[in-house]
């Protein structure tokens, strides 16, 4: 690892614990920690914490030249006059204390990893460029690296490093040190690029504090999006981890049918606490949905759909679809209701696009309706979807009042076994 073309790489494990002497060779102590400052794209190594014990250290500005050239067992020489108070600046963090051996999220690999070592690039200054999460880093930390290299040299299988570029590292530490909270910068944008299912997996793997930190920094909307894509068990476990008020904020952002499913799967006491925090209109809806029996049309349906009166023009209806497209899932069907909420007919997006803009919906709507009753069970709903290849099916009460829509998308997981059974029969 010589210094060529003015740069060199070092691992932090090669620096930590090194002897530190003054210019005359008198002992100052050892390198107890490395201080780095959050910067883009890479954290800048500002200096070392040196001293005899971790509790009694002084700050030494980075002796970058020396560190880049350090030989085996060679001590770091520091002029005692340059030593400063060990106070951290606002964006500083301690590498050993807050990064080494801690959990990070590898955003590219979408995995939670433990940091075995930290890779530093020395130019005129020093930058943290990679974290090492592999077995080689582990061996280096344990002091077995030379022996391991000899062994692997014999079998001609050189050790490989598993480095993650800092660009893909999401740190998760939030620590209170020296009487003042210091928070490592969270780069939301990177985390938001992950597939929701992957993010849910990551949340599962984290400790409580880290999980809460990540959820808080992402905001309820983003987490709601994530949870809608996640499996039931992940949904409940994430929600049950959160403060009831935060959980309620997230559930409000979700599709009510989905939110009700999550609450239904939660253990009793939590459900009540969370529902109490939900805003009034959503709360009534949620409570109603939770009451419905499991695996009936009522429990599978979403109460959100697009509806217009029969005299609406196609142009106005399309405008309504456009207006609600970002909030409502079921945009392919527009339901025509009379003022009392009775279902009169249905139009598809396709039929509206093919009709004249000034035509009334009452003229073009389909009036031969296929509906399900709220108490109808999975098997019967499956038959309807099987027979008619609908994307969604309206749920109506005894008087044909529209209650909601069962979307094949929401019901798919539950319906799949039924479809298989049908196919076999």
């Amino acid at each position: 690892m010589g210094v060529e073309k003015g740069f060199a790489f070092r691992y932090v494990s090669e620096i930590l614990g090194r002897r530190v002497t003054d210019l005359g060779g008198g002992s100052i102590g050892r390198v107890q920690d490395v201080v780095a400052s959050m910067a883009q794209p890479y954290p800048l190594v500002r200096g070392l914490m040196v001293g005899r014990r971790p509790g009694a250290v002084r700050f030494a500005p980075c002796p970058c030249d020396q560190l880049a050239r350090l030989r085996h067992r060679q001590a770091v020489r520091i002029d005692p006059a340059t030593l400063q108070d060990p106070t951290l600046a606002p964006h500083d963090f301690l590498v050993r204390d807050w990064l080494l051996d801690k959990q990070i999220v590898d955003v590219q690999g979408a995995k939670v990893e433990r940091v075995n070592d930290v890779h530093i690039l020395f130019t005129d200054r020093a930058w943290i460029v990679h974290v090492d999460v592999g077995g080689t880093g582990l061996l280096r930390r344990l002091g077995f690296i030379d022996a391991a290299r000899r062994l692997t040299g014999i079998v001609r299988q050189p050790l490989k490093d598993e480095l993650i570029s800092w660009k893909f590292v999401q740190t998760l530490a939030e620590t209170e040190e020296l009487g003042r909270p210091i928070r490592l910068k969270i780069e939301h944008s990177r985390i938001r690029d992950l597939h929701p299912g992957e993010l849910a997996d990551i949340l599962e793997d984290l400790g409580k504090e880290e999980r809460a930190l990540l959820v808080h920094s992402l905001g309820p909307e983003a987490v709601a999006d994530v949870l809608e894509e996640a499996e039931g068990q992940v949904q409940t476990s994430v929600i049950s981890q959160l403060e009831p008020s935060v959980a309620a904020d997230i559930l409000e952002e979700m599709d009510p049918g989905e939110a009700a499913d999550i609450l239904g799967n939660l253990r009793g006491a939590h459900t009540d606490e969370i529902i109490a925090e939900v805003e009034a209109p959503e709360r009534a809806q949620l409570e109603q949905l939770i009451e419905y029996e499991e695996k009936t049309a009522a429990s599978l349906m979403t109460p959100e759909f697009i509806s217009v009166p029969p005299e609406t023009t196609v142009a106005a209806a399309l405008a309504e679809v456009r207006r609600l497209a970002s909030e409502i899932e079921a945009i392919y069907y527009t339901y025509v209701l009379d003022p009392q909420g009775h279902l009169k007919g249905v139009t598809t997006l396709r039929s509206m696009l093919r009709a004249q803009p000034e035509q009334r919906l009452g003229e073009i709507m389909e009036t031969r309706l296929v509906t399900v009753h709220p108490e109808q069970e999975l098997k019967e709903i499956a038959e309807v979807f099987q027979k008619y290849s609908f994307l969604g099916c309206p749920v109506v009460d005894d008087e044909m009042r529209m209650m909601g829509v069962v979307l094949i998308k929401h019901a798919f997981d539950d319906l799949l076994p039924e479809f298989k059974r049908e196919a076999r029969a």
């Binding site: 080494l100 051996d101 801690k102 995995k111 990893e113 433990r114 940091v115 075995n116 999460v133 582990l138 930390r141 344990l142 620590t175 209170e176 984290l206 400790g207 409580k208 504090e209 999980r211 476990s237 049950s240 981890q241 253990r267 009793g268 006491a269 939590h270």
Partner: protein
Amino acid sequence: MTERKTARVRRLGTRLALFFALLGPGVITANVDNDAGGITTYSQAGARFGLATLWVFVPLCISLIVVQEMCNRMGVVSGKGLSDLIRERFGVKWTFYLMLGLLVTNLGNILAEFAGVAAAGEIFGIPRIVSVPLAAFFVWAIVLRASYRTVEKVFLVACLFYVSYIVAGFMSHPPTKEIARAVALPQIQPNAAYLVMLVGLVGTTIAPWMQFYQQAAVVEKNVRVEDYALSRLDTIIGGIAVSVVAAFIVIVCATSLNAHGVRIESAADAARGLAPLAGRYASWLFAFGLLNASVFAASILPLSTSYTICEALGWESGVDKDFGEAPQFYGLYTVLIAIGAGVILFPGISLLTIMYVSQVVNGILLPVVLVFMLILINDKRIMGAHTNSPVFNGIAILLSIAVAGIAVASGAMGIMGR
């Protein structure tokens, strides 16, 4: 009035439902503790010293609950396993050597479980060449085929089978008055054999794997801090249940074997010895209990060991991952079971040597784990408002010193015993 009553009943109902949902980690950990090695030691204690060691289960029960409660609390508050916390707080070197020690001592325990399967099987006339591979395959497959939640339910049912020892206890017509006196009035026999037995009882009852396992299990369960009181109840019930079962094993062996001067080497000896004294059914119940305990512990130990080690070293772990994602986890798991079952099938290998090494390492390991636990649980950065109270800390430290001292003594005996 009635409305309020119904509301209260309903609230009680949700609390009860919540408790059963949280039940598991504490009860399972404690019951696995009554494994093949434990039953052997308890049988020996009863057969050799009668009821004279019975009192020790009271302080032992308290120590067990105090230690396990701390792990339980750390798991609930931090959402992290004990090996995670140790890695983050004490660095990779401590963690690595701790894990190495845990691997050795747990391997010893796994061997003992498969030896227990072999011995119990032979009482029912099943040769070990059949029973051991069957048990190994069952244990190995249960993890590959089932989710942890399902596995946990199976384990909870296995806990119920420990009742067989209590039934066997009553079948041996225990002298109630003498038992009460033995528990209430502790007496120490001033001879080496008795003291060695006391040390053995503590050594087998509080083992390092239990702390790692319970904390991991409680993390897996996602218990919320608000529900901690119920989770603690799980630990307390577990601790009491395990002590009662252990005491009954001592009582069975004391009232039948000791009364007739029958000496035993193993739990299987005890089961056989019971037949002419307490009847064939008592003997069968005893053997069935041993079989259940051995298979149960053999299912948990390899899983817990692999999980703990992989978590500590940052390898992917967990039964929800496949082999490609978590090769170290499945590799370790498979090797532990293969060695555990394999060694029992090769008559040439001395089980005793391995057991002694395991006992010595156990004695070194437990004090270190207890010290780490005490540091971690008093760390405000990890535990926030849930650190030990000063009084509890005092009790925990005293008990830890006592338990650690006894563990070291037990390890030293392992060395001298060779």
